[in-house]
Amino acid sequence: MEDFKVIDNYLMIRLPDEIDHHSSVDISSKADRYILSGKVGNVVFDFERTTFMDSSGIGIILGRYKKVSCFGGKVYAVNADSRIRRILMMSGLKNIVEIIK
């Protein structure tokens, strides 16, 4: 299961083991509740536990980016392994998410 934490105005999302269509619906709707509450301006996706991600992950990131970027917010990806970084790159997300480490 994914979990959420707010530090300053950063929403930290610890993503689950597998990110697919099935798991993405819940992650997006929960994240949006934090974003719409106005308490968070930036989103950090933590891939530490994630071993699988398909195009559904791209949708989660792009969707949250669209919501925070209009208020000047940023989106980050941390602890993404080479596989996940490759998928982010292939989808042209490198101009949208800041990939850390």
């Binding site: 699988f52 949708g59 792009l62």
Partner: protein, 162 residues
């Protein structure tokens, strides 16, 4: 309409399996675990395993979301057929959903008909990138068949058919 990318798999069939499952999102994980188990005897590398799982996940997700319009209804079925020809895996994922009018357009990266469901139009691009061969056969109101092939087990101790 049929769109073919890359070369064809040939050779004698050495193993085969078919599963039918309901077009519900829970079965996306089931389908990729089933194909991973099927190719385990070939000693796939982690990279190959991940490539195949991603491609299968994309095709099954498309059947659920697009073919059956995200209904998540147990009466809608998806069929997955896996075949081995030596060290070449062939997977077919088929639905009897709405079908695709223009397959060539659908396969373009970033093309999506469901942006409101946060789809990004990268599914076919990933299938193409992670497999050696991709073929999409679809007819409007009849359904879609996605056929993909990949050579497995680049480890030197595995005998190659070629």
């Amino acid at each position: 309409m049929i769109e073919i990318i890359d070369r064809e798999a040939v050779g004698t069939l050495t193993n085969e399996m078919t599963v039918e499952f309901a077009a519900v999102s829970d079965n996306e994980a089931f389908a990729r675990m089933a194909v991973a188990a099927f190719i385990t005897p070939l000693n796939p590398t982690l990279e190959e395993l991940s490539d195949v799982k991603t491609a299968v996940s994309e095709a099954v997700t498309n059947a659920v979301i697009h073919g059956y319009e995200n209904r998540n209804d147990l009466v809608d079925k998806v069929w997955m057929k896996c075949m081995l020809r030596g060290d070449v895996l062939e997977v077919e994922i088929r639905d009897q959903g709405v079908g695709i009018e223009d397959v060539r357009a659908a396969m373009e990266p970033l093309y999506t008909t469901r942006p409101e469901l946060e789809r990004s139009g990268m599914g076919f691009a990933f299938m193409e990138a992670f497999m050696d061969h991709l073929e999409v056969d679809s007819r409007k109101d009849c359904g879609t068949n996605v056929r993909m092939c990949k050579k497995i087990g680049t480890n030197p101790w595995i005998d190659s058919e070629e």
